[in-house]
């Protein structure tokens, strides 16, 4: 096999590197993963978001480790300790802002990363498992963000925890008992805060790291897709290398660093000049301590949950509302099997898919907006319309991807757009 040949050719080096390489496959790793790893040469800006997600993950881990040094978990200490970090720890305000705004940045990056996969059909064979690992990362990320949001024990933390945990109470029979078990008390309380802290700083980060590792191994196994949706491994030159591939290093390592530069610039602008981002990245009501006797009005979850929240609210029956919320998230898992189209990229798809992708995009953004608004009749009615748009993208997919009149896909990748 070609990869074995390549491995046997790896230069073991002399001196210390030779000693090291006999004991740890350093050069082999660099060769397999960077120098001899061929990625499609037509990546566009949408391909920045994977490496940016890695960057944000590291940023969250580092800022989180430092926050944990000052944060005091407990219903009587948590709120005060976050104030302490923001006001009295040297650069505590910066570390706390980086972590809180980093959570929003994570979702910005991950949503764009996922949207790229929708556009270019990256979830389709042979990348189903890569996509599924991505979806598990997304679920873990949602849990991580939700529990982290509870930790400052502000009033919004408290009521967000109350409402979200109560969604489980709609499960028939076991619901009420399950909710008590999750909270560890008859209401959201100290016990809830403590277990969320443990999960947020230990359990879920470990799970996330494991899932990201699996995500990347699966990616290396099947190779990246690209904006044309052409499998570059199917068109190899006489040297056995994909004609439309270029070595990951130096081409994409350097390109990714440029992406990092742009991202960090934008991120710094937000952190220093618009940290609350109009109440989206940090919420007003969370600057007040948790008060079990007063629900903040209006109450809305973080912006990255609002599409699902709007769907929940759009249904007058709470059980069906919770079920649709669940389905709205889980629907993504089934994409690889719902899509019957012979082509991957939107560039070669027909009007049906393009139209439905547009419907989905508009619906998702509209639901995101509506979920931030109060539950008045006109907003709720609008959410119903967009929820139908949202679900039709998935439910009708087996049909319209069949009917779609696709273009023929060229053999070589292109650089238009």
């Amino acid at each position: 096999m070609a990869s074995n040949d390549a491995a046997s050719q790896v230069n073991q080096g002399a001196g210390f590197m030779g000693w090291l390489n006999k004991r740890l496959p350093v050069n082999k790793f660099i060769s397999d993963q960077l120098l001899e790893y061929y990625a499609p040469k037509n990546f566009n800006v949408w391909y920045f978001f994977g490496s940016l997600a890695l960057l944000v993950l590291v940023m969250q881990l580092v800022s989180g480790i430092f926050l944990t040094m000052f944060y005091k978990v407990g219903d009587t200490t948590a709120f005060e300790s976050v104030e302490f970090i923001r006001r009295e720890v040297s650069y505590g305000w910066l570390i706390q802002s980086l972590h809180a705004i980093g959570a929003s940045a994570f979702f910005v990056v991950v949503y764009l990363h996922m949207y790229r996969a929708l556009m270019y059909g990256s979830y389709k064979a042979p990348r189903e498992l890569l996509w599924l690992f991505g979806m598990f990362i997304y679920l873990a990320l949602m849990a991580e963000a939700f529990m982290g949001y509870v930790l400052p024990w502000g009033n919004m933390s408290y009521w967000a925890a109350t409402v979200i945990i109560n969604i489980f109470s709609t499960i028939p029979v076991i619901g009420p008992g399950l909710v008590e078990w999750i909270r560890g008390d008859y209401g959201v309380a100290d016990a809830t805060l403590n277990r969320f802290f443990s999960l947020h700083v230990v359990a879920i980060p470990l799970i996330l790291l494991l899932l990201v590792a699996l995500h990347l191994v699966a990616l290396r196994q099947v190779g990246s897709n690209n904006p044309d949706g052409i499998e570059i491994k199917e068109n190899k030159g006489s040297d056995g290398k994909p004609v439309d591939g270029i070595p990951f290093h130096p081409y994409y390592t350097v390109k990714d660093i440029v992406g990092v530069g742009f991202f960090l610039t934008l991120f710094a602008v937000v952190v220093f000049f618009v940290p609350t981002f109009g109440g989206l990245f940090m919420e007003e009501a969370n600057f007040e301590p948790a008060n079990p006797l007063s629900t903040p009005e209006p109450i809305a979850p973080s912006w990255y949950f609002t599409p699902y929240y709007a769907i929940l609210r759009a249904v007058p029956n709470q059980r069906i509302g919770a079920l649709l919320l669940l389905l709205a998230v889980l629907a993504f898992f089934f994409l690889p099997w719902l899509d019957r189209s012979p082509v991957k990229s939107v560039r070669y798809r027909g009007l049906w898919f393009k139209g439905m992708l547009a419907v989905f995009t508009v619906s998702f953004l509209a639901l995101m907006y509506l979920g931030l608004k109060p539950a008045s009749a006109s907003y709720v009615n609008a959410a119903r319309v967009f929820a139908i748009g949202y679900f039709s993208f998935f439910v009708l997919m087996p049909l319209y991807t069949k009917w779609d009149r696709v273009k023929s896909v060229p053999k070589r990748v292109s650089f238009h757009e």
């Binding site: 109350t162 008590e180 909270r183 109450i299 539950a375």
Partner: protein
């Protein structure tokens, strides 16, 4: 040693499955204490003991909020006129007779209470647990001319009447819950226990 005996594959398969199954049982047993640790602790349960509320200063139309088992409890007095009007809007309610709702047997009536004048309700919204806000004034500009007075939840707009019964069109499906309670005397309410004998012993 030239042991030519063939490997007994059936036996090997049986042993593999049996070992795996035993390990599986072990995992379940080992997981039990960890899963159980999440249930409310003994302390949380102890703090859930009954509370006593003095009603002597509670005027009709006024409301008190107490916390019992981490849940806010609304306690308010209804005027005789309010009580008389409570049955008038039954048609607008999801569960006017409280047959699908959660309350002690002695509160499964039109007033959802032991005494018509005193209402005791668990304040957490039966939709997703926010606190419905007091909107006792009838004919509210926002809630409509036929609003009889009651509560509106700020989270998703569920509406309840002055007996905690949910109006049609609310995301909540059942009425506000009623905690177990009893009256020690005319002006002393005990929340969390419906048995005066148990309360006396404590």
């Amino acid at each position: 040693m030239a042991d030519q005996e063939a490997v007994d594959l059936d036996r090997r398969k049986f042993l593999t499955v049996a070992t795996a199954a035993t390990a599986g049982v072990g995992v379940v047993f080992a997981a039990t204490p960890f899963v159980a640790s999440w249930s409310p602790s003994e302390r949380a349960k102890a703090l859930g003991a009954p509370i006593t509320v003095d009603l002597s200063k509670l005027e009709p139309g006024m409301m008190l909020t107490y916390v019992w088992r981490k849940q806010p409890i609304y306690i308010f007095k209804r005027t005789p006129e309010t009580v008389a009007k409570l049955a008038a809007h039954d048609a607008q309610l999801k569960d006017p007779k409280s047959s699908d709702s959660d309350q002690p047997a002695y509160a499964t009536n039109e007033m959802r209470s032991l005494r018509p004048d005193v209402a005791v309700l668990i304040a957490t919204c039966t939709h997703l647990g926010c606190l419905p806000k007091q909107r006792f004034e009838p004919a509210d500009a926002e809630l409509g001319a036929d609003w009889p007075g009651g509560f509106r939840c700020p989270c998703h707009g569920s509406r309840f009447d002055l007996a905690g019964r949910v109006f049609n069109g609310s995301p909540a499906s059942v009425n506000l819950r009623v905690p177990p309670y009893n009256f020690e005397n005319d002006n002393t309410l005990v929340i969390g226990s419906d048995d005066a004998a148990v309360q006396g012993a404590a």
